[in-house]
Symmetry: C2
Subunit: 381 residues, 2 copies
Amino acid sequence: MLTPVDLREIPTPALVLDLPRLRANAAFMAGRAAQLGVRLRPHLKTAKCAEVARLATRGQFGGITVSTLAEAAFFLGHGFADLTLAVELPPTKVAPVLDLVRHGARMTVLVDSPESAAALRDACAAAELPHPVRALVEVDCGDRRGGLPAESPALVSLARLLHGARNLELAGVLTHAGHSYACAGVPEIVAVAEQERAAAVAAAARLREAGLPCDTVSVGSTPTATHARDLRGVTEMRPGVYLLGDLDQVGLASMGRDRVAATVLATVIGHYPARNTLLVDAGGLALSKDTSAQRHGPRIGYGLVLDMPGRELEGLYVYRTNQEHGHVTADAPLPYDRLPIGSRVRVMPNHICMTAAAYDCFHVVEGDTTVVAQWPRVNGW
Amino acid sequence: MLTPVDLREIPTPALVLDLPRLRANAAFMAGRAAQLGVRLRPHLKTAKCAEVARLATRGQFGGITVSTLAEAAFFLGHGFADLTLAVELPPTKVAPVLDLVRHGARMTVLVDSPESAAALRDACAAAELPHPVRALVEVDCGDRRGGLPAESPALVSLARLLHGARNLELAGVLTHAGHSYACAGVPEIVAVAEQERAAAVAAAARLREAGLPCDTVSVGSTPTATHARDLRGVTEMRPGVYLLGDLDQVGLASMGRDRVAATVLATVIGHYPARNTLLVDAGGLALSKDTSAQRHGPRIGYGLVLDMPGRELEGLYVYRTNQEHGHVTADAPLPYDRLPIGSRVRVMPNHICMTAAAYDCFHVVEGDTTVVAQWPRVNGW
């Protein structure tokens, strides 16, 4: 866009991104990676945005992490060729991965079953590719999502399936400490980060002992990347939500509220003083139904209400949502005079990965309420 | 599309719509409207799809209900001109409504505050319009979302503000029994339906007693439209979710599971027999984080797992989600042999309004797994 506009002119609900905070978040994690001596392969499943990816990879080696084929194609189209697709690859998604490789992508994929490994191996062997697909064996470090335990006998046999085939390269191991999200306090997160590191490093050692290659030892989640004491033996980390931030990350001590960069712009559409509520036009679709941050304390609901420059309105939060309605209250009487019908607020959400998915673009603000850019996002699959 | 394909060829996750069930749902509610002697103005906030709107308005007067300006513009572009925007209209959204009117829409809007009424009145008076905007006063029948109680002294004064202005027509009253969703059992829903009817009719009587026009007395939610004993004094109803259905509507006895028309197509991506789980590629983004149906019973989680033709797989449900992962389990050992890695399932979600919003189109099936059409949806605002 040619002329900056003001947030007051954007139709609501809308997704707002605070550029100075985004820059601070990117710099923070770049500093962590340097301090820990690992490469930073930021996960773009949260931001789903090329401009954010550029900021996140500035000064890094350029690789990124994605969670869908749609993200992979989008980022390849924006010049990001080194892509790790960090969700277990079923046999039915091998062909689209090979298409991406033919279009220039350096694809690294994730496998935790012999069925998927065999399908990948056979398809690669049968294909003409400009360079090999790289495969990581997934390790379960305690999250009980995907992956094999580091000590599983199946780990080495799975790696052997992926090694030595035509157009396929065994790259190493990957794990994700998703269970860091269930931690209560930094000492627990530090312990989970060490569990994550230790599992990945132990799995890598088992591959190497078996004579298999393992150049990549990949870990990462925003809480563990923020709080890990050291990452000896790890080669890369893949945090993602740190770029935007949310109330759950604040509760997990990944950041202060003053670093949450993404908020939802909303309009006040009704006043109900008899029950000390007001309605905004950001409801369950605009905020998402994710309530993960509620475990960190009361008066969080579906998000905290901020004023237009992004300062907290003391104690106001969205306590209930309908599809297009957010119900706002507070313990104290609401400041109706400061929030007339038609005025605007911003809402800091629980879990930005879920919230952002409702929007096609970020309205990027720099300094209070001046919109300096619209940055497209890729949703869907 | 020219050639029918099979659900086995569609990239996952994807949104599937069973056409025979959709037709049955549309016919059911058309029958209810005829039986109750009211006009059916289906709410398209759930389906957000022109083809669904055509089926839902077949044999009806043609008016529909929408919840966003994006839906209004989309449906106007598809030939639906009689549009009720059933969310409180703030002063900042009056101008886009007038634009829709200039493009041929017969807009009916909703007001529950003097601020919004005055802004609407002034903007209409200052505009050149081909026909008036119609305004409804919103009545709160117990949901405590928007609206004024039927007995509120402010009701008549608000209606007076909307009456007699240039390019503006006081159309009547509207209420929505959203609290029907909190009912336990049909007798409670029947009672809430009567509360909804009585509140709307009482508010209409007060307007008429004050010498004000009130040609529209509008009620509606899928549970109350399904179970209302009678709607004396009501002119139209606005249910919406009945078209697609979901587990919450099944729990509310709006339909049987055999009438739920929308499901999420997913691929099995991992087997974890040690903990009796498997992973599918439909997670929190593909299913939504809405868990409203969990109150109806155990073993619902984020959705029930069906086989490809849409039959229930006994007891399988998604008990946990990550962004791109759905964790499936059951009380009995999972049938891994019937669900190999790379095979497909369908998931019946909790709350389809939230789930469908992640998708740009429906893959329409007729008879088991044959995809006969792709129908676009309008998301965003």
